[in-house]
Amino acid sequence: MSNVHSGHYGREIRVAWAIAVKDMRTYYTKPPSLMFGILFPFSLFLSFSIGRNMPLATQIPILISQTLFFASSSIGPVVIPMERANQTFDRFLTSPVLLFSILLGKTLAGIIYGAGISVIPVLVGVAFFGSQIVNIGAMIACFALSSLAFSALGIMFASIPGQTPGQVMMPLNFVRIPLLFISGVFTPIGELPTWMQAVSMLSPLTHTVELAKYASGAETFFGPVLNTAILGAYAAAFLFMGIRFHIMNQRKE
């Protein structure tokens, strides 16, 4: 019995990986992926950091967080509407594979994209701006959990029944951009009023910023344990809700 189950799980994982690899080959270089995943976080960072009286090394964790946030959450909203328009998403739905595995494959594509691009600011920061990674474990946790949570966030939004990336990106940005202002990106959480600190705790981006800062040796407000727990909880919640919303779509058709 356990062999049957392990075979079944193995099959689901192989199919999820095949979907992820196909998405990487097909969609990573599409203009909306490049614009919303790379150009957007870097230009946002530059527009808010240039002219600020802060050493660049201390801003590198913020750039890492923003890149993780935007790049990871951009793949699902690019891939799924395009596949819906071409009806290639139907191929997955008619394949002998669970919806969970299909969305896991899509999530993996977002994780690899987000984490892969976010390595660039880490390397640039260490090589040219004197930033340090004092806790590699925290940085790995930051990358793994944040890219998972944000990629799942993108997949969840991609359940909005649109056929162009713009139809999903617009509502997604309606959520993503306000989160920048309550997540310690522009103003440290310690300097926010108490009620805003409580609100910022609810933002997943807060915990990415905090983990990235913690890994770089900076002080944090909530602490790495809470950051890790909340990011993990968000990742699970976004995945679960993504699946529910996609099933609701199938019922609505």
Partner: protein, 314 residues
């Protein structure tokens, strides 16, 4: 869909006909697991599509109404990716992909991106992808719609050959002649309800009063259609290209009227055929499709999208 109920026998070609918006594609989407019905069940080769979806989907191959291939990938990669979705072992999926590409005449261009392929070639790739897993039932949604004649013939021939090998085919089509030629059974659906299911020949017999006389004159004059409509025992006149089809339940009397009409007007008859009812007649009768006639002959513009050329007797 409104409580439809039907069964497709193993190894048959089953045609699912209906006008636009009748629910053909919706039915296919529910049977293949793309959509989830609000109520009811469907079993594919004994497996419930909702509760045993993995097993049910392993039995089927699907060719939707648009060729949903990955344009950014090559024909080879499209097939290999499909094999991966079915978790086929590497050696087996490569062998199967090569076999199918050869069968569809695409092996030489298999490394090219599908983007540059013609519509017919994309359709063939789509069909090859549906056959990757050696499915037992093939769902074909308008498989030949909008294709060139050669692609249509290739696809029809292939469907016939696969069916001869035991593959069950569920086919939706607008092409009634195609359904008549290929299907063992047809179902006609309208407004989400099943109007009828039977063999094409039995269905034709239900409209015996829709026999017809097909005539073509060497010259066609203004007002001819109106005059033909005045013939006794003619219920409908259909202009089909340079021919007229006079629907009747009494072909001999219409033949006599036609001969007299030709003599009186000094017209030369170049074609005279008597025809039995077609599946199209059954379809029109059951679905109640009627084109709208905007004006008189010569200036007539058929407003309806469906069945152009069919003019009801006023």
């Amino acid at each position: 869909m409104d409580h439809i109920n039907f069964e497709v026998k193993k190894g048959e070609v089953f045609g699912f006909l209906g006008p636009n918006g009748a629910g053909k594609t919706t039915t296919i989407r529910m049977l293949t697991g793309i959509s989830i019905p609000t109520e009811g069940t469907a079993t594919i080769m004994g497996y419930d599509i909702e509760n045993q979806s993995i097993e049910a989907k392993e039995q089927m191959g699907i060719v939707p109404d648009v060729s949903n291939v990955y344009n950014e990938l090559s024909a080879w990669d499209n097939l290999i990716f499909t094999g991966k979705l079915y978790d086929m072992p590497k050696a087996y999926r490569e062998k199967r992909a090569e076999e199918l590409l050869r069968m569809f005449g695409l092996l030489e261009r298999c490394k090219e991106k599908v983007q540059g392929f013609s519509r017919g070639m994309k359709r063939r790739i789509c069909l090859a992808m549906a056959l990757m897993n050696r499915s037992h039932i093939l769902f074909l949604d308008e498989p030949t719609s909008g294709l060139d004649v050669q692609s249509v013939l290739v696809i029809r021939d292939l469907i016939r050959r696969l069916n001869e090998q035991g593959l069950t085919v569920f086919l939706t089509t607008h092409n009634i002649e195609e359904a008549s030629q290929m299907c063992d059974h047809v179902a006609i659906i309208n407004h989400g309800k099943l109007a009828v299911i039977d063999t094409p020949e039995k269905l034709k017999r239900t409209v015996e009063n829709l026999q017809s006389v097909e005539v073509a004159f060497e010259t066609v004059s203004q007002g001819m259609l109106k005059e033909l409509r005045e013939f006794p025992n003619v219920s409908n006149v259909v202009k089909e290209g340079d021919k007229f089809r006079l629907i009747t339940n009494d072909p001999p009397s219409v033949l006599a009227s036609t001969w007299n009409y030709a003599q009186k007007n000094n017209l030369r008859l170049i074609t005279v055929n008597t025809l039995g009812p077609s599946l199209e007649d059954v379809f029109v009768k059951l679905t109640g499709i009627k084109p709208t006639v905007a004006g008189e002959e010569g200036n007539d513009r058929m407003k309806a999208q469906e069945m152009p050329g069919r003019i009801a007797k006023q």
